[in-house]
Amino acid sequence: MELVLAAAIGVLVASGVWLLLRPRTFQVIIGLTLISYAVNLFIFSIGGLRTGADPVLHEVAGDIGQYTDPLPQALVLTAIVIGFATTALFLVVLLASRGLTGNDHVDGEDGTP
């Protein structure tokens, strides 16, 4: 499972960076979104991967090893919310830029008409 997750994060980041460096604003925002997915997965996995383990303690005397770390899950929730909001804001700016300049180049001017 670790290998699959690591590969998924790697592929997401690689595609995200590629898209981030493209000249179209839409590609940039998709790239940013992919990177933020990868980062969220990364945060999620940082507490160690366990299948079927519970983050909430049921019994006080229970073995801590039976549970998964709840803190990364809380962190990833915060990160998702903030990432979502900033992406939405970026989308608005992207549309404003499209409206003001008439094209979707990141610099506002298209070198190749």
């Binding site: 900033t86 970026f90 700016v93």
Partner: protein
């Protein structure tokens, strides 16, 4: 001091901003009154915090801790007040209050919600300065960035939106690096509390130390992007030049947030107490990166054709200087750097405001760009000397001064900004630079220190050249268009900022003593840990 006062600089702007949003843009008087009240109150609170921080324990470190929700330190989030954070909160509040009158001038009300956004920005800044938890720091960074996105776009227009687009993309990427760094550090140590981290770092097993360093380095890169270190800072001059002057003046503080975090974390986590493997991790990078930044800033400043960009490159130079000074890890240099931080922030903010007034023409499309003429020393000289006598010159000057008082005020302000930023004698810029440079001579000679020492002096010299050139073209060359009317409210902002710098020229001893104590306090990381952590056991 009531420890709940520590959270006031965060809660107050939040509530005011929410209230302003509810009231809406239409009742502008109420909104503005709320803003003014909030900023005045913030200055009051900040002064109270500063006094509290400086009274607690006359000698070394005393820090006040506020536990949010009264959770024990290792589980909950803490706000930590020490001399450094009190100083930064005060600087934020003063700057916020100072730019308010400028932002009230009628023509700047294009695009709404300036006031709530400013309050949110203040909230984010104060939170970032006060928090003692890495993830909470991320949250406050996002708050201040989100507000800054809105403010950078304030006034709209193709140039602003295009610059804002780059700014947002760069900062979103930086936030991702921030998250990666935080989660790596959490994965290695299992805590995000700064004090607990600092306590754990010496005992991190060798096996995972490399991972910890990687996490810290990623975190560092995220802050260096915000600080605009050389290869990472190309977004800054364009964004700052494109935003409205009041906003740019506030942004002069934003690079300092990166400096603040780097200063705090590098001394706390990787100071002398971090064990042989981790102490001074990354400080060489900061030193040489800062030096490269100063060089890049000088080159950019000398080439800038636009007063806004010139001010933007001044931000870069001051950020680079501070970065290198932080990288030196010496208490005396840090104290000087803090003095330089305060003065350069106020000076650059004033320069942005002056630049805005000089460029403003009432006509929004052209006022953004005040293009300076290409530098041509041979061009006008011969004509001027040959055709006009000195007496004629004097008469002309005289008449202009009488006719247009705004030019005199603006010229004086510009002159004061130039002296401050270049660090020339009578004003406080010189004192700050002296406080920064003098301890470098006492330090054991290193190549980096010598290079930095030389470079700071060269940077001051180049600032003189660039600002003289701009000043000559704006004030002495025949203006192509008349200067815009200067409103009292606008000039008030500039006078507040410059007056503060002037005040710091006269009142030196107290502030310098405070900064010396501050530097000693943040260099004693062990006491920070002991102040923050035992608070867990004591219940009020």
């Amino acid at each position: 001091m009531n420890s709940a006062l520590i959270i006031a600089p965060i809660v107050l702007p939040l509530l005011v901003a929410a209230l302003q949003l509810l009231i809406g843009e239409r009742r502008r008087r109420t909104v503005v009154a709320l803003s003014v009240a909030s900023c005045v109150a913030l200055v009051g609170v900040a002064v109270a915090l500063l006094l509290a921080a400086s009274q607690q324990g006359s000698e070394a470190a005393m820090t006040a801790v506020y536990r949010i929700g009264d959770w024990p330190v290792r589980f909950g989030i803490v706000l930590v007040l020490d001399r450094l954070s009190a100083l930064m909160v005060l600087l934020t509040a003063v700057l916020g209050l100072a730019i308010l009158p400028y932002a009230l001038a009628p023509w700047r009300h294009r695009g709404g919600h300036f006031q709530p956004l400013l309050q949110f920005l203040l909230m984010g800044l104060n939170g970032a300065f006060l928090t003692g938890d890495l993830f909470n720091l991320f949250v406050f960074f996002e708050v201040l960035l989100a507000a800054s996105y809105g403010l950078a776009l304030h006034g709209s227009g193709a140039r602003r939106v295009s610059a804002g687009l780059h700014y947002i993309a760069v900062n979103l990427t930086a936030s991702m690096l921030f998250l990666l760094g935080v989660s790596l550090i959490f994965g290695v140590t299992g805590t995000l509390n700064m004090a607990a981290l600092a306590e754990l770092i010496p005992s991190v097993p060798e096996r995972t130390r490399a991972l910890l360093h990687a996490g810290a380095a990623l975190l560092g890169v995220a802050f260096l992007i915000k600080t605009a270190m050389w290869p990472l800072g190309f977004w800054l001059p364009r964004t700052y030049a494109a935003s409205t002057p009041a906003v740019a003046a506030m942004f002069a503080l934003m690079t300092k947030v990166g400096i603040y975090v780097l200063l705090r974390l590098s001394l706390l986590l990787f100071g002398d107490g971090a064990g042989p493997a981790s102490s001074h991790f990354g400080s060489d990078w900061m030193l040489w990166g800062g030096i490269a930044t100063v060089v890049a800033g000088i080159v950019g400043m000398l080439g800038a054709r636009e007063l806004g960009k010139l001010a933007g490159y001044n931000v870069v130079i001051s950020a680079g200087t501070l970065l290198s000074a932080v990288g030196l890890h010496q208490p005396a240099v840090t104290a000087g750097a803090l003095a330089y931080l305060v003065i350069s922030t106020l000076g650059i903010a004033a320069l942005f405001l002056v630049a805005g007034l000089l460029a403003s023409d009432g006509d929004e499309e052209t006022d953004d760009t005040l293009n300076l003429e290409p530098y041509d020393p041979g061009g006008d000289d011969s004509k001027g000397v040959d055709s006009k006598s000195d007496a004629l010159f004097a008469a002309e000057d005289e008449s202009r001064v009488v006719l247009s008082a705004p030019v005199a005020i603006l010229g004086l302000s510009f002159f004061a900004c130039a002296i401050l930023l270049a660090g020339l004698p009578p004003l406080s810029g010189f004192l700050a630079k002296f406080a920064l440079l003098a301890p470098m001579l006492d330090a054991p000679p290193r190549v980096g220190t010598l290079v930095l020492f030389t470079l700071i002096i060269v940077a001051g010299f180049c600032t003189v050249i660039a600002l003289c050139r701009a000043g000559i073209q704006i004030f002495w060359a025949e203006p192509e268009r008349p200067f815009a009317q200067v409103r009292v409210s606008e000039i008030t902002s500039i006078l507040i900022l410059l007056g503060l710098c002037l005040l710091l020229t006269v009142v030196v001893e107290g502030p310098l003593h405070y900064l010396g104590d501050t530097a000693r306090q943040i260099h004693a990381s062990a006491s920070y840990i002991h102040e923050v952590l035992p608070a867990a056991q004591v219940s009020p």
